[in-house]
Every structure is written in C-alpha cells, then in structure tokens.
C-alpha cells in the first residue's frame, strides 16, 4: 500500500511538473513579442520576420545588404506612421511573394508548423489537467471506483495511456522548446552552461505570426545557427547543410524555422530519415496520425535501424494507432540500436508497461 501511495505521489508530481511546463510554455507563447515598445524595437521585430531578398536565409534585420537596410528603413518609416505590422508585412508579400516571410504560410505544411507551438503545449496542459482531476476523483472515491471493469486490468492500461501521453507531450514540448525538457536531465555533450542571449532570433509574435513560446536561445545555439546558415549559403543544394540548420534551429528554439529546414531537406532528399522522422513527429503532435505514420515508414524504409524513427513509430503505434504489439517491437528495436539513446528511459518504461498490459 505504501509503495502504491508512493508511486501515486510520484505520478502526481510528474504530472504536476508536466502541467507547469506546459502552462509556462503557453504563457510564454501568449506573452511573446509584447515587450516591443519603441519604434525601433517594433520595426526590428517586423524585419526579423522577413527574409532579406538578396541573401540566402538571413532576415532583413540581420542582413548587412543595402537592400535589407532599405527594407528596415521602409519598415521603420511605416511604423512611425502607425501602419499595422500585418499591413507592412503584406506590402512585402505583395512584391516578393510569401517566400519573403521567414515564418511559414498558413496553408499546407506551413499550417502544421504554425499550429504546433500552440497546440502541443495546449494539448499537454489539457491532458495533464484531465489526468490530475481523474486521479483526485479516484482518491476521493469518485466515479472511477464504480467502473464495471476489474481494476486490475484497467489500471495498467490507464498507466500506459497516461505515460504514453506524457511521453508524447514531453517529446512534443522538447521539440517546441528546443529540447529543454531533455536538457533538464543533463546537458548534451559540448553544450556547456552558456548564458541566454538577447533573443535576436526571436520571431515576431505581435502581428499575427506564430509565436514560439520558449526561452531565449543560448549563445552556443545562436553560434551554431550562424554556422549552419553560413553552410547553407555556401552549399544551398546540400541536404546535409539544411538538415544541420534544422537541428541548429531546433536547438535554438526556432521550431518553425526548423520545420522549414526539415522540409527543405526533404525536398532535396525525399528519403532522408532524419527529416522524415522530425516531420512525422510534428505531424503526430498536431494530430495527423496517418501522415505521421507514412513519414516515419518512409524514414525506416530508407534506414530500417534509424533509432529516432523506431522510437517515433513506437509512440505512434502505442498511442495513435493502438497497436501495442507493433509498438513493443519498435521500442525493443530502438533499445537494441540505441544503447545510449536519449529516449532510452521512456522507451524502457513504455515497453515494460506494454508488456505488462499484454500479460
């Protein structure tokens, strides 16, 4: 009984932590971009969301090109005249097309990239709250006790569902927040303990563009982005350069840009397992299980022992498709091929629960 209570208390703590993280992400999302007060700050935020037309993958705010300087000048004058941010951006879209926006358009894959930063923390918050409420009801002798199914079979299933939901939420949040949850367990090799930078790469959230809900990127992450951007400029047709940039954006918390670069990688190399897996996870966290499954299958066709793809397919099968046997196979395969994988703990936990459920 004591062990069960301890387990229950620990589950409660984990869930409470998940809810807090999700709430913080949502709050950050909601408040993002509202700090800009001066004309310069507002103009800079708008310019940061626009692509310099004569550069490769540099924003109008960051580019030293004369045309980018003129863009900044035009934006500043329009802000001074009180022109709304959306209207300013639209002026550039009219002349240059939607590609001038550094954030994805609101259609097709772009829609997925736009909704993920809002939907994932929201879903995690909702799921966490539901589980906490159910737990409280159960403890106080609520409706959970009068279910017509034997508790011995219901409890493991619930635990599987709950933990799988937490794993998905954690994975999704890690993508959204630049892997902060996993980093909380321990820093990645070479990551050190860099101080947060000034948030130069912050996306503009004040005028309708999708906010990101994250802490400012570290100096190391920003330096990695610069290096990767430079590489893409040098070799724009190299899928490996785009993939590296996608990873750098993800580490810097730039989820939308990361998604764009994963898409760019896939355009150049349609079977790229890393890009397909990342996009599968994005599709899965936004609710498109079928697309997620087809993407991750493609990744595994190209590289049957790709660890991240195996883990992602396991998650999809366990929670999205309710195929526990297939999920067990994929989690086992993941554990075989990734002896030091970052998802090892959650894969082991899920596997144990799925196997217990099968018995």
């Amino acid at each position: 009984v004591i062990t069960r209570r301890l387990l229950a208390a620990r589950s409660g703590l984990v869930l409470a932590a998940a809810v807090l993280v999700a709430a913080a992400a949502l709050a950050s999302t909601a408040l993002g971009g509202r700090g800009a007060t001066t004309v310069e700050e507002r103009a800079d935020r708008i310019a940061a969301g626009l692509r310099c037309p004569v550069c490769a993958d540099l924003s109008a705010a960051d580019s030293p090109a004369p045309l980018a300087r003129q863009m900044r000048d035009r934006i500043r004058r329009q802000v001074e005249r009180g022109v709304p941010a959306a209207e300013i951006r639209q002026g550039f879209v009219d002349a240059y097309g939607a590609s001038v926006l550094l954030t994805p358009p609101g259609e097709g894959w772009g829609r997925v990239a736009r909704v993920v930063p809002v939907v994932v923390p929201g879903a995690a918050l909702l799921a966490g709250a539901l589980v906490v409420v159910r737990g409280l009801r159960r403890r106080s002798g609520g409706p959970a006790q009068v279910l017509p199914v034997a508790p011995a079979t219901v409890a493991p299933r619930r635990r599987v569902g709950t933990l799988a939901a937490v794993a998905v939420a954690a994975t999704g949040l890690a993508v959204v927040t630049g892997a902060q949850l996993f980093d909380a367990v321990g820093p990645r090799p070479g990551q050190g303990d860099a101080q947060p930078a000034g948030g130069r790469l912050e996306a503009d959230a004040s005028g309708g563009l999708a906010p990101t809900g994250r802490e400012p990127a570290s100096d190391d992450a920003l330096a990695a982005v610069r290096t990767a951007e430079h590489r893409v400029r040098r070799t724009p047709r190299a899928s490996s350069a785009h993939l590296a940039l996608a990873g750098a954006y993800a580490d810097a918390g730039q989820v939308q840009l990361a998604t764009i670069e994963y898409l760019a990688t896939r355009r150049l190399d349609p079977d790229n397992p890393a890009a397909n897996t990342a996009l599968a996870l994005t599709a899965f966290t936004s609710g498109d299980v079928r697309l997620a499954r087809s993407l991750v299958d493609r990744a595994l066709r190209a590289e049957p022992r790709h660890p991240e793809a195996l883990y992602t397919r396991g998650l999809i099968e366990a929670t999205g498709q309710r195929r526990p046997a297939a999920a067990r196979r994929d989690f086992k395969a993941y554990l075989d091929v990734a002896p030091f994988g970052s998802h090892r703990t959650s894969a082991q936990t899920l596997l144990a629960l799925l196997e217990g459920d099968a018995r």
Partner: protein
Amino acid sequence: VSSARTRRALSLLGVGTAVLAVAVVLGVGLSGPDRLEASPLTGGEAPAFTLPSLDPGSRSVRLSDLRGQLVVLNFWASWCAECHVEQEALAQTWDRFRDAGVVVVGVNFEDAVDDARAYVARTRTSYPVVVDSRSRTALDYGLRGVPETFLIDRTGHLVDRVVGPVTADGLADRIRPLLGGNAP
C-alpha cells in the same frame, strides 16, 4: 579478340554519347532564352513611380506619363558585372523599337552617382536613366538583385520579369507580341 574490340567500341561509344549529351546541355543552357521568372506582381498594375533623372539636366520619369507605350524597366548598377554584359542588348532594343512605342528606362540601383554617370557616359547610353534613392522602387517591384528587367504593357500592367542579363533577341521576342502590328 573480337569481344574485346566490341567492348572497347562500346566504351568509346558510351563516352562519346556522354560528351555529346554534356555539350548539348551546356549549349542549351548557355544560349537559351532570357531567364523569365514569375513575379507576384505579374498581371497586375505595375507599381507607380516618379524618379529623378541621373542626368541633372533631364526631367524626372513618371510611369503614368508613359501610359500607351511599352516600358522596358531595367534595374542596373555600375558595380554589377552582368549589367555590363546586357548593356549592348538594351541599347539595341532601344534603337530598334523606340519608334514603335517602346521606352527603355534604366533604374540605377544602390550605386554612387558619379560611378553611374561615368558608366552611362562610357557606354553612351541614350535611353533615360533614373536614380532610385532608398531603393523604394526596387522594393515596390520585389527586386532580388541586379540586373532585373520588367516589361510593362501599354495599359500599365506588368507582363514579364527577366532575372539576370537580357539578350536583344530574347527581349525582341517578348516585345513583338505586345506591340501587335507595330513591331518592326
């Protein structure tokens, strides 16, 4: 022995075919028509402008004053190597079509005025050349670099955009259908 000869002949044939294919691809690529690229503005009314002449003694050019004529709007700079390449083609187009209602307008982009004037004098450019201070017109037209050339029809609508240097023949091919029976 005969099989070795056959293999060698086949190898030579393969190499020859590959070389020919590369030559054809390069030939087509290098001598192909002007690089047309869609602009979001294509089909719509061309953005209005009034730009001062590079020559202080000449008057400003206003797009609305050119209504009824076909406008070849060419963005260039004296520091741009490809602009030097296309200069002769633009001069030929101006000489050939000016009496048929075609106006070539050079828009100097992000340049030092003295350098631009020296370039115009050296190349004996006779069509109107204007200065786009602060690149306002460049931004209005969605310019991505120089040289870029826009074709504006007689009703003031943007018809085509050519990214990179134009050729005289390529421009003539675009201009003639727009002029109808007036083409020389």
